[in-house]
Symmetry: D2
Subunit: 340 residues, 4 copies
């Protein structure tokens, strides 16, 4: 038995593309209660950096204006400078490295790479911690900034769920290069893996790969934020309802990983999850990965509600003729959303 690679500490930032920059910004800032901490332009499009109230790093989401929705560059923080070097060495050995750059927004020396499915990633160690200002200084100094007290109060970025056209490739890369540890997976009847959940620490997962039905590389299933309680998620559903956000699925409890979830589509079309795991953690260093069969999946979520069809027909960017949404860049209106 060789020791587990534990060089990546956690998922730290996600870049999201949106064709509706202002509406998406409103969603993250006014409904998820994130703070805009930086603004620039790139390739003629707007870019906003947004920070969750208890993320210690300078930003959680980079929102980038683009023709279509989807996921851009995702950041992973290494556990130490040495861990960063070891990780980069393993990446370079795969030929998927892009090289060192100066990091954005207070992030130091950063190594960029892709996974085998062409998802853009980067890894780094040096970072400037978030500094609260007079406007968002917290009453208790052991949190990053003031509790917002509105909207969904997203505490921190929680995990990313990628669609992949190369499950075998991304799994090998995730395990051998990045050091992800499998906690749960779906095993289809034909032998293929339907989805794979990876953790880099004690959370039950930080990164997921789900099979892309269209065979298109580099797509996104969803990005998730941690809510403090299940009640917060129930309240958030009310808030999304009042604000015309398309509620796709939930609030309800997953069978896999047992998280309490709520999926909505932000105005740009990306699927966003609010997630809560209660006190569930994976403390076992040798956790035995839990596999779910197709039959077990057919039983639905924890309390029996079936998985909805759009979970298997909507990803970003939308693939015309392959994904089912009428307008690939737009969330369905609430009333015409799903067939009953």
């Amino acid at each position: 038995m060789t020791e587990r690679i534990r060089d990546i500490a956690h998922l730290s930032t996600v870049e999201l593309y949106t064709p509706k920059f202002e509406e998406s910004l409103w969603f993250f800032r006014d409904l998820l209660a994130m703070r805009e901490v930086g603004r620039t332009t790139e390739n003629g499009g707007e870019v906003a950096y947004l920070h969750c109230w208890d993320d210690y790093e300078p930003y959680s989401i980079k929102l980038t204006e683009k023709e279509h929705a989807g996921v851009g560059r995702v950041g992973w923080r290494a556990h130490s400078p040495e861990a960063l070097e070891r990780t980069v060495a393993r990446i370079e050995a795969t030929g998927l490295g892009e090289g060192w750059v100066d990091g954005e927004q207070g992030r130091g020396r950063t190594y960029r790479f892709q996974n085998p499915d062409r998802h853009l990633m980067e890894v780094y160690f040096d970072t400037e911690w978030y500094e609260a200002t007079d406007e968002d200084r917290p009453a208790l100094k052991n949190q990053a900034s003031k509790f917002p007290g509105f909207g969904a109060n997203a505490r921190r970025l929680d995990h990313i769920n990628y669609l992949t056209a190369d499950m075998a490739g991304v799994c090998e890369f995730s395990e051998k290069v990045m050091g992800g540890y499998t906690t749960e997976f779906i095993q289809l009847n034909d032998g293929d893996v339907g989805a794979h959940w990876y953790t880099f620490g004690q959370k039950s997962y930080d990164m997921v790969y789900s099979d892309d039905w269209t065979g298109t590389p580099g797509r996104l299933h969803h990005v998730a934020f941690a809510a403090d309680t299940r009640e917060d998620i129930l309240k958030a559903a009310d808030i999304f309802l009042e604000n015309g956000i398309f509620i796709e699925y939930g609030p309800y409890k997953h069978a896999i990983q047992q998280g309490f979830f709520l999926y909505v589509w932000e105005p740009g079309g990306n699927r966003i999850e609010l997630a809560n795991q209660g006190s569930r953690l994976i403390l076992a260093p040798d956790w035995k990965p839990v596999g779910w069969t197709q039959e077990e999946r057919a039983r639905g979520q924890a309390w029996g509600m079936k998985t909805i069809p759009t979970f298997h027909t909507h990803g970003t960017p939308v693939v015309e003729d392959a994904d089912s949404a009428a307008n690939p860049h737009e969330a369905p209106k609430r009333d015409e959303g799903l067939e009953s």
Copy 2:
């Protein structure tokens, strides 16, 4: 404007029929956390009286062994002795009265009657309050008995939802004879009423009539118990899951009346709801009844989940060939329950 009739104080007891007496008793006692406070036999079948921990009356449910599931006699407490007399006079004028009897289980003089759809009811004023024993004496004396601390901790009986083959008849009876006040209703496109919610006090409803698709009189849609919090209902779903109870629908939030709900089928086949209304009350004495159109209903529950088919195909007793359940006396097993 004549003053509202306010002679009935509240729903107090429901008799439920079950073809699986022991299993149903286990459900109410061990999962809903009700206490068995009396046992007898009637017509060769077992009868158990069961008490919710904070109901002030001597029992909440009378569980009666019978060939088929369904609802038996339902008790309503009058607001005063005078209110009882006035109510009985109005019932007698309709010809639906059955006459006075001695009440069961510490209940005094009781008048029995039927509604126009042959649901059995009774009204009374005199009652013996529940007396806790050494085993269930509460630490705080302003509650009826000790908080159970297990299962669903059903606090009190909350409401009854009847199926009816005579909507016009039961509505007129509910309003003019019983003094029910309409808070919400469903107005179908053909002009018929799909369902009607009545309150007798400040709760948003105590009694509901839903249209019976089979045209059979006297059936039950569900009986509901009040849970203290939404979290209690989420926990109850876990407990039902662990104990093999068929979870039909929920936990989720209704659009109509906005209650947080969980519907399960007790082992005898009757649909049981756990309900929570938060702090929502109907304080307005002249509340303007809220009508929902067929189109509005098609949008689903509060957060968009559609109403499930069994809500319109399962009632008790089951009507063979009309209701869809394969075995009329049995809840579907979890896995074969609903089509996805």
Copy 3:
């Protein structure tokens, strides 16, 4: 047995005096999430009308600029026009009536009076229901306006707790004239009543009288708003903490009435409670009032925390030399608040 008087439907509005109008307005609007629905001046001071998101009436709080904090005119809605007439007749018989006026803010013909402790009150039936605008139209039409989704999200005005220098007088008036029904009370060792809880419907209380240690008539102990869940109250505590509001007591659970509570002082000095009763209601029309002895009170709140000293030394308006607060018009700063 004569039938209970049931002529008053519910507490509908409270006028609060504040020496710090802008700060108080900020508290109710930005922290309790009430909407300002009207603004005027009276006697040279500012007046704002504020509405809780699910109150059906046009306003919940009238905030009036004044030299000192305290309670002004409190409104009670009658159950019907006939109930209004009967109530006014009983008031007039006591000599405490002030006469009919045109109501404020869409309220119709209104009868003004005082209780024997000189608390100002009024009773009426005609009222214009709150009409949501494009800005606060709710997604679900069975609620008064859009769920705010920020701050404490105070759903509705819940109850008022008066200090009184004439317990016997106000109790007789509450019961015989107003028709309040006693649900709980504190019986001191010397035979005096320490506090008295009255309901006008099925909530466990709407109005409380607590003994005023200074012997000054017409003062206020606190005004309470209903929060939907206990979690809402826990979140509200975080929000008050972040915004520098003095948290006096809680969140915790009362033994008396068992409500989950949080007491803060709004910037003007008035004590404000957020309260949640879960599913607890008083359904019994002949509820047996629960009396608590001084010894029972000494055990503290439900889970044992003692009642804090300021509960018996702070009321509004503050009585100099009698109440203990250093500055009668000001809440103590968080750090210098209570002695440990």
Copy 4:
């Protein structure tokens, strides 16, 4: 910068001594909802092994009958076989090692040692995972056993808070030998450390040392279990109240570490905490330890409630004449507990 030692994965088991074995067993089994999974005798006293429903290891608590309350041997699981060897080597270098033994209850090769304050500990890697039986097999296979659905439903052992007479010694040992990482600490005005919080992973702490006012080595402040939600902790308070358990403090929210807490004394006298951290985790691999001054501590807990005196006068075993409890082996009765 050298890399952090990360050889210990988590706290896994705590041995508790109790002079009231049967009552303590009832507390853990019937109120915390732990399952008795083994029974033996040691030195003439009873021993029970108890398992929390979602701990993957074979037991969480070893309850050992003894003359006095207190903490016995505490188990730490190493991250890997190699991590175990490295840890043992560091321990042996300090001279505090006791040597290898065969582990109890399915635990493999185990190395025993003491910290500098004579708290008994052990470290190991090999362990048999908990195997659910027909009686406690869970519906969802990604949890260790069936959700109990009663009492406090303690999910897993969470942390231990030791009293220490040698703060400098235990801190050096915790950091340099065990590899604990400091997340928060209290810095007294005289320069001494009042308490120190250590994590071994991503939880905000697993082990705490608090200054022992009596100067006695080897004592316990409390052991904590993770509850899934804050609502679970509020319910648990009701259950403890109904069952006559001494509620010392809470439910409330800590300023330090921000956990929602409830402290009770189990019948043997040991302080037990139910704790919930919501979604708060320490993801930063270079978390900057948060220090609290004496002045900051004087502000009380998160929402202002002061720390109670018994927090600084009760530890186990009780030190006669030094700790303040009248009867050192017994929890105070609820009514005579704390001075108001």
